[in-house]
Point group: C2
Chain length 116, copies 2
DNA sequence: TTGCTATACCTCGCATTCCGAGGCATTGTC
DNA sequence: GACAATGCCTCGGAATGCGAGGTATAGCAA
C-alpha cells in the first residue's frame, strides 16, 4: 500500500523532529532514514525535506552547522534546539489528541455516544 | 489545547466520510457535528467543508440531492456512494498505517530497531 | 582520461489544502 | 421591521508536498 499524499500531510514535520531527537543528522541522510522507516508506505524526496529543514532552522526550531563527514564531503548537520524540543513535545500531544478524535469517529460503535 | 492546522491537514476528509457513513447529512449540520465531536480540539468552518463536499461529489465519492427538511428550508443532503464506501475503507487503512509509522517514530524506545 | 554512480546540497513552480471573510436567501422571533 | 439562526455559496491568501531540475565532489571502472 502506498500512502496518499493527503494522509501524510502535516505529519512529516513531526516525523522529522522525532528523528532528530535521536541525534543530529543531515538532509540527505534524513531522507534515507525516513524512507527506511516508512517501510515502503510512503516515499519522501529532497524537494520535500530541504524546504522543511530551512524553515525550521529559520524558526529557531533546529540549529545547523557545517561539518566534513567521514566521506570527505561537507554536510549540514541539524539538531533540535531547546525550542525544537518543546515543539516536538507539543506536536506529540497534538498527534495523540487527533488520534483520539479519529478513533472516536472511525470506530463510533466502540463506545456509542448517546449525545450524538 | 487547540489543534494546529497542520496536524489536522489531510484528516478532515476521512473524518467527513466517517461521519457520512452513519447516515446522510448536509453541509451546515456536518460542520456542527464535526465541531461537536472535536470537543474543542479544533474548529472547522463552512469555508473548509463546502469545497470538500463539492470536490467529493464531483469525484463521485458522494451523492447529493436537494430536499426540504423539517425546518422548511432547502438542504443539500450528501451520502456515501459505493465508491465512497470503498474510499472510506481505503482511508481507514491509510490512517492505521500512518498511525503505526508515527508510533514507531515517536516512541522508538518501545522496540529498539538495531538496523537503525 | 573519460565517464558513471552515489553522495550532498539546493531552487522553482505546480497542484492542493485549510480557512477567514464575505455574500445571498429564508425562517422564525422579539 | 429588525434581528439571529439556518442554510447555501465563493474568493483569495498562506502554507504544504513534491517532481523536476541544477550544482559539485568523491570514488570507481573502462
Amino acid at each position: 500500500m502506498k500512502l496518499s499524499r493527503k494522509t501524510l500531510e502535516g505529519s512529516l514535520e513531526t516525523l522529522l523532529l522525532a528523528l532528530l531527537e535521536e541525534g543530529p543528522s543531515y538532509g540527505y541522510e534524513i531522507v534515507q532514514n525516513l524512507n527506511a522507516r516508512a517501510h515502503g508506505l510512503f516515499t519522501t524526496g529532497e524537494g520535500t525535506i530541504y524546504p522543511i529543514l530551512h524553515r525550521l532552522e529559520k524558526q529557531g526550531v533546529l540549529a545547523a552547522h557545517w561539518r566534513v563527514g567521514e566521506t570527505g564531503r561537507k554536510r549540514k548537520y541539524y539538531r533540535l534546539s531547546p525550542k525544537g524540543k518543546r515543539e516536538l513535545s507539543t506536536q506529540r500531544g497534538e498527534w495523540n489528541a487527533l488520534q483520539q478524535v479519529m478513533e472516536a469517529c472511525l470506530n463510533p460503535n466502540a463506545f456509542k455516544n448517546p449525545s450524538l
